[in-house]
């Protein structure tokens, strides 16, 4: 197992180098640079002179060939410096990312937990009640939820819970008087602000996961060993939970592993609608502004999370399925 892990880690490092190299090449070949749409370039009265533009390009290393610039970036990264964002006035990329992590995790972790906590019972319940009227109603409702775009739901939820009922805030993470609130009131305030975004983040994946579990369970409950267990008089709940569900866990674990990068991925449109300072907007803005350093910082982070997620999934395989070994 240890050898396996070491090999996977080394392969992961190689993959990381390859990903960052290719992404760097791609973004440096996109038309425009971080200075192209600098607001100063658009200002009728304050457009920088050609000498100034050249001076700034040189100062930021934009005059260098992309492959040299990549190794400069890599060298700094290996020493823990992800660089500074040119369009964001030289703000350190680590700070820009760190600023967004809490808000992003607050939504994604809550959403993920809710998804698993709700989808597993719903999936199992649907298996037990398969074909019944209630199961069909729930299935239809889940399909409808899955096909409804989150940004449409967001607008309706805003109109209902903010404009009509006035129960929940419209946007942002905190109220204006947040600092003056007690600790419990602050927690309540955060909860109220996060509720609508969390619902929008969750309902799509809830529908998907519960149907995923249901579909896998449908296949599993037809297996011979399940029939055997039933024939031996094992109680139905134990058959479902202990015999069938454990086998359904294997593909679910793969999904869980791949979910890791999405925890910090954010969602551009929902973050925009709710003015939520998450990672999705940062990535989106960085691409539009050709913010090379921020794009690379985020790419590196997501690559590490993806590779780590896959490794985690493989390790979890061995835990949930005793037949799997890496020796």
């Amino acid at each position: 197992m240890v050898h396996y892990l070491i090999r996977r880690l080394l392969l992961g490092i190689f993959t990381l180098l390859l990903i960052t190299f290719v992404v760097y090449a791609l973004i440096r070949h996109m038309p425009g640079t971080p200075l192209t749409t600098d607001p100063a370039m658009m200002n009728p009265s304050r457009m920088p002179s050609p000498e100034d533009i050249e001076r700034r390009a040189k100062l930021y290393g934009l005059d260098k060939p992309w492959h040299i610039a990549y190794f400069i970036w890599l060298g700094n990264t290996l020493q823990g410096d992800l660089g500074n964002s040119i369009p964001k006035n030289n703000a350190p990329v680590t700070r820009l990312i760190a600023e967004r992590v809490p808000a992003t995790l607050m939504l994604s972790v809550t959403s993920l937990l809710l998804t698993y906590l709700l989808s597993i019972p719903i999936g199992l319940w649907a298996t037990v009640k398969s074909g019944s009227f209630a199961e069909r109603v729930v299935s239809t409702a889940l399909y409808m939820l899955y096909s409804m775009p989150a940004f449409v739901a967001a607008l309706y939820l805003q109109l209902l819970f903010y404009s009509r009922l006035g129960w929940l805030p419209l946007f942002g993470m905190r109220s204006d008087n947040y600092e003056t609130l007690s600790a419990s009131a602050q927690l309540w305030d955060l909860f109220k602000h996060a509720l609508l975004p969390v619902i929008c983040f969750t309902y799509g994946s809830l529908a998907y996961y519960s149907r995923f579990i249901y579909a896998n369970m449908q296949e599993t409950v037809r297996q011979d060993y399940v029939r055997t267990a039933r024939a031996k008089g094992v109680p139905p709940a134990r058959v479902i939970w202990h015999h069938a569900f454990r086998n359904t866990l294997i593909p679910l674990v793969t999904l869980m592993g791949l979910t890791l990068p999405s925890l910090l991925g954010g969602a551009v449109i929902l973050e925009q609608i709710f003015s939520w300072p998450g990672m999705g907007r940062l990535y989106f803005e960085a691409i539009g502004q050709r913010d090379y350093e921020t794009i690379m910082g985020l790419t590196l982070m997501f690559s590490i999370l993806t590779l780590g997620g896959q490794l985690l999934a493989d390790v979890l395989y061995a835990i949930v399925d005793p037949r799997v070994t890496y020796n």
């Binding site: 180098l17 607001p39 009265s45 457009m47 920088p48 970036w73 060298g75 003015s275 300072p277 037949r323």
Partner: protein, 684 residues
Amino acid sequence: MSHRPEPRSTRRLALTISILSLAVFLANASGCGSGENTPAPAVKSDSESGAKAKTAGTAGESKAATEEEEEAAAKPFVLGDLLEPFTPPSLEDVDRTAEWIDRPVLSGAEILRKKQQDKGPPTVTAEQALKLKNDYPKNKENNDIILNSVGRLAPADGAGVDFDATFVRHVSGDLKSTNPIMISSITEFEYQSLAGFGYLGFDQELNYFGSKDSIVSWQMSKDHLIDKIVLRDDLTWSDGRPITAHDVKFTFQVIMSEAVSPPAVRQGIDQLKWVEAYDDRTIVFFHKAALATNTTNIGIPVLPKHIYEKTIAADPTLARSAEHSRLEDHPVVGGAYELVRRERNQEHVVRRRESYYMHNGKQVRPKPNLNEVRVKVIEDVNTALVALRAGQIEQVELRPEQWVSRTNDDEFYARNTKVTALEWTSFHFDWNCGTPYFSDKRVRHAMSWAFDYDELLNTICRGLYEQSRGNFHPTSWAFPKAGPTPFRQDLNKAEDLLDAAGWKDSDGDGIRDKRIDGRLVPFEFTMLTYQSETGIQTATLMKECLSKIGIICNVKPTEFTVLTDSQQKHKFDAAMGGWGAGTDPDSNSNLYMTNEGRNYGQYSNAQIDELFLQGRREFDRAKRAEIYGQIHNILWDDQPYTWLFCRNSFYAFNNKLRGYNFCPTGPYNFDPGIFGLFKPSASR
């Protein structure tokens, strides 16, 4: 089911390590990643240039990222090293030779208040005006009534003003920097108008004056080569230290330092030869040439010297060191408001600073009307409007569709009203004169005759905008007395002009063509446009119009950065775009002068080049107006653009607010701008 481990691969392992080693080697060989022990750069004294040596601060916390940065770190920081050597004369010599002309020292609020008084009392009270529905463009009357009554400023003595009021406003982009010289976006300019120290302002008509709140006198030498400003002696930074002429000189030198990279403020200021502080209050600006545009160059955003002289050498980026990061969130300011809260990507809050208007226990300046301005970042325009309707924010800039269809109901008017005003922002098609299609001005005229302006203005623009009549807005003093008549669609004229220019359908395929360098070139070009609904619809309308006269126009909605990059590199046939206006008509020179930075369409006319130069050298407003009038008419005759429409300002305000007024660049970008806003004490 069994999972086999992958075969051991020593070659892959070796390759991985090799690449990693190579990466580290190349990275180190490139000189990147200087590490923790980067030496603090020394500060070099430059006696030749007169630049004073500054003490070095502690080493910056961040690592030099590139070879240049490491070189820069090794190179001593020299304050003002972009300046040519200059030894300023003594103040006595300056005073003796200058033959000073007094320039106006005024208050923007007083100018506007006088203007409003001259109009006479409003026909209805503000409360009555707020009950009206603004049905522009059907009817302009109610809009004028609302602006005239609700826009009235508070009396000079502040009677009836709720000085405890907070104004919650909306912006769509976050405040990226609080440093006065690192500003570049609208949000930052607006923040600086509240928190920054300034000594020049301009009124609604974009006329400059010295700010009475900051200076006691402003004089200009008869030869227009020198300006002298004397600061008031009751100005303080928010840390209690006095604001002096040395701060202005220091900031000028910082801006003119190679290692410092201010995004938007060097342009213009780099036209100054020198700035000298003769004592704590007297600043003299020496210009390189006698130009009418010099006034715009002396407005320098000011840094507190006593803070930055200790830190600039260690971190000329003004953003990376621990101290500069701290100053970003806790800036020392010279303006009327100070930053009290900054939550990135969410909001920033500024609060009125007592030490701005009180000095030694005495009120020395008008007390700003608002106690706090809370600026909320909401990117989504629909969310912003919902928040306004619910009273959570108190001002939103409306999109045309919001003005027309989402702000007419009683529920909106229960809490808000809306107003529109002229804005000098116009949109156009830019023809690339460097392409075989548009090098001939007859073709460009044909394009302008071919377009359906009625469809554009009435359908796409929902009747909200007026047709553009060329480079300068008809309400600008630079617009000619005999201005051009706008184009109307005339396909016959367009076809005649194309025929005359040699673009005929010679092969009978329905598409016009022309033999160029022995090759038959069909008239098929690509129109780039930005990705907004209006941009795509307008470009598509042009495509439809041109298809009627045998021209194929391929519309290509393009991401903004790609669009701008293509334009800057002149790699386009035609593009849709728009420009706002600067305070001086000369700010448009870089759109049309040969080889200038924003002259994307490669237009060139020696007469235009010469006239813009003349306009800069002429000081008499009437004569300048004649010059710019000529420029306007020549440009109209050359049609480097097909001018389309002028976009107005559309804003919604909470009913509690009073005193909003507009200039050609919006409601805030003039004096008093946001300082005119107030809430009546009765609204509490």
